[in-house]
């Protein structure tokens, strides 16, 4: 069953169509990657799906409902949550508090309830803390829970970003270049974490540059070039696709023999 259907999605910046009539489906429980050369429109597509940008036209159907161009917090409330690259965290809070605050959508108490510390509010807070600790431990960074986030090294920040995303209890988690700037070992670790997240019953959509990691991790891949979808399929299909090879390596030029 498709959890997300992207239909004829288009975003124009002035005369430039950054994303041009792109359509694809995301099946529940799969890991789908969006790849493409620089400037292909990956990031724009990512922001359109998470509603951080308004679409020019087209639809994003999530569980049968059109969520395109709604406010980001409303989309998050429905279960579509994005993560950011590693610098986007609450820098001045501890790692644990970052994840505690990210439990916002699970609050049963109202804002007034939190103000007066009602019983529901106290229960919520205790539960958030417990769940935050569980998530941090799950991602293997439980031991740095009390560190101020800005002091954490690169790999930990990435895991913290994932933890924040998980705390929001999404059904569909969107990852923005989760392997960017990582060395081989860190990438292996991050790939394991993404598998783990899928095993928790989530659907994962990721935008990524790191080709080996994408080929390894994805169930299916969507390839963009100049804002248009040029291919879609399993990693092996994509590797053999001529249009994709052309997009990445350029066309052979017979005249100069390259």
């Amino acid at each position: 069953m498709s959890i997300l259907e992207v239909r004829q999605l288009t975003k124009r910046f002035g005369g430039l169509a950054a994303v041009n009539e792109v359509s694809f489906n995301v099946e529940a429980g799969e890991i789908l990657s969006i790849i493409g050369p620089n400037g292909a429109g990956k990031s724009t597509l990512f922001k359109l799906i998470s509603s951080f940008l308004r679409a020019t036209s087209g639809e994003v159907i999530y569980e049968g409902e059109n969520i395109v161009s709604k406010a980001p917090h409303i989309v998050a409330r429905k279960g579509v949550v994005r993560t950011f690259q590693e610098t986007t965290i609450f820098k001045e809070m501890t790692a644990l508090d970052n994840v505690v605050i990210a439990h916002h959508l699970r609050s049963r108490a109202s804002l007034a309830g939190f103000y007066w510390a009602s019983r529901t509010a106290k229960e919520d807070e205790a539960q958030f803390r417990e769940s935050a600790e569980e998530i941090l431990n799950y991602l293997g960074i439980g031991h740095v829970g009390n560190e101020i986030a800005r002091n954490l090294p690169h790999g930990y920040l990435r895991a913290l970003g994932m933890a924040i995303g998980l705390a929001a209890q999404p059904k569909l988690l969107l990852f923005d270049e989760p392997f960017a700037g990582m060395n081989h070992e860190e990438t292996q670790q991050a790939v394991k974490q993404v598998y783990g997240i899928r095993d928790r019953g989530l659907t994962v959509l990721l935008v990524e540059h790191d080709m080996p990691a994408v080929m390894k991790i994805s169930d299916r891949i969507v390839v963009l070039n100049f804002g248009q979808k040029i291919a879609e399929g399993t990693p092996t299909e994509i590797q053999d696709n001529e249009q994709v090879i052309e997009a990445y390596l350029g066309r052979e030029d017979e005249e100069i023999g390259l």
């Binding site: 409330r77 965290i89 609450f90 959508l105 103000y115 919520d124």
Partner: protein
């Protein structure tokens, strides 16, 4: 944990005794000093609002506008609708808050210097509106001869006596003290509840906050409404003390001062605006003898403070603890940099 709670309570108790008993005893009869203290307390109330807008990451230089709106609302309700001051003051706060919501909703999506510039122009806009809406505000002549607050009676029991029958300076002092304590108790709770965490999440990263489902537009408006409410209460109090209100009662300069009070006290501390307001306002009064050099001396002081104490006066108290923490953190940074270098090498 227990110890810090007890010592906090002790500090609070001493502060309350000083404010409610000792200061009035020392200064009773010295009208000038009573007036200065009362004014500083009232300014602290409006400054608390500015601090809250700083807390969600917005530089607010428009508090004078909302204080003026509150002041006029209170004056008009007393003079034209013949309301009691005790109803007019809270209504003035609510009216300011409503205006705050209407203006805040569109402009709060702006950040940094853009938001600051718009709020700065609000004060001037408020002054000009007060001047031109003369049928309601009396224009440049303002509203004068506003009666002192009358008695507040509930079920025939006099809760607060008519100010004109008692020492009104002392009465205003106590009213300001009670409002100040109530304001900061409410603010302290706000900042230490989950709402405070949500506000901090806005300050640190609005995009991330909205991605975890926080309705950032609503929270920003709530913070701005609270800020405007406190300005309205402060403004209404001023008008009651001065028994008059003019378009110049709150000017751009006042808006800038409210912001400076917050900077001086420390933007990270909920009691920062009180400390900032008292230090700055009292030193103003002290520097009055210097006449035309007053702004010069005072700007040098401000620049010095911002250079050496960028986190405000209250960060002095954290000196030692902070230093220890910072050296630990920098040691760790060095370690991290070290291991990064190794990884790359």
């Amino acid at each position: 944990m227990m110890k810090t709670t007890t010592s906090k309570l002790a500090v609070l108790g001493i502060a309350l005794v000083v404010v409610l008993v000792i200061l009035p005893l020392i200064f009773s009869g010295k009208l000038y000093y009573m007036g200065v203290l009362t004014t500083a307390m009232a300014l602290s109330i409006a400054a608390a609002g500015v601090w809250l807008t700083f807390y969600i990451g917005r530089i607010n230089i428009g508090q004078g506008a909302f204080a003026l709106i509150g002041g006029y609302a209170c004056a008009i309700l007393i003079m034209k609708a013949e309301m009691s001051f005790w109803i007019a003051m809270p209504l003035a706060g609510v009216f300011s808050a409503i205006i705050g919501v209407l203006i805040g909703y569109p402009i709060l999506r702006l950040r940094g210097v853009y938001f600051a510039m718009i709020t700065l122009s609000l004060t001037e806009t408020a002054r000009l509106s007060a001047q031109s809406l003369s049928s309601l505000t009396g224009g440049a002549k303002g509203i004068i001869n506003i009666p002192l607050p009358g008695a507040l009676e509930i079920f025939g029991f006099t809760l607060i006596p008519d100010f004109s029958t008692i020492d009104s300076h002392l009465a205003f002092y106590y009213l300001a003290a009670v409002l100040l304590i109530a304001t900061y108790a409410a603010m302290y709770r706000l900042v230490n509840s989950r709402i405070g965490w949500l506000f901090r999440s806005l300050q640190q990263n609005e995009d991330l906050a909205s991605s975890i489902g926080v309705n950032i537009a609503m929270l920003r408006v709530i913070a701005f409404a609270i800020s405007s409410f406190l300005a309205g209460i402060g403004g209404a109090f001023f008008v009651a003390v001065q028994q008059s209100v003019y378009p110049n009662t709150f000017q751009v300069q006042d808006s800038v001062y409210f912001m400076l009070y917050c900077f001086l006290g420390g933007l990270g501390y909920v009691f920062g605006p009180i400390v900032g307001t008292f230090v700055l306002f009292l030193s103003f009064e002290g520097l009055q003898g210097l006449n035309e050099y007053q702004p010069l001396v005072y700007s040098v002081l401000m620049i010095a403070l911002m250079l050496w104490l960028p986190n405000g006066l209250l960060s002095l108290g954290e000196g030692r603890r902070d230093k220890a923490a910072r050296s630990a953190a920098s040691a760790k940074d060095a370690n991290v940099a070290d291991s990064d270098a190794k990884a790359k090498g």
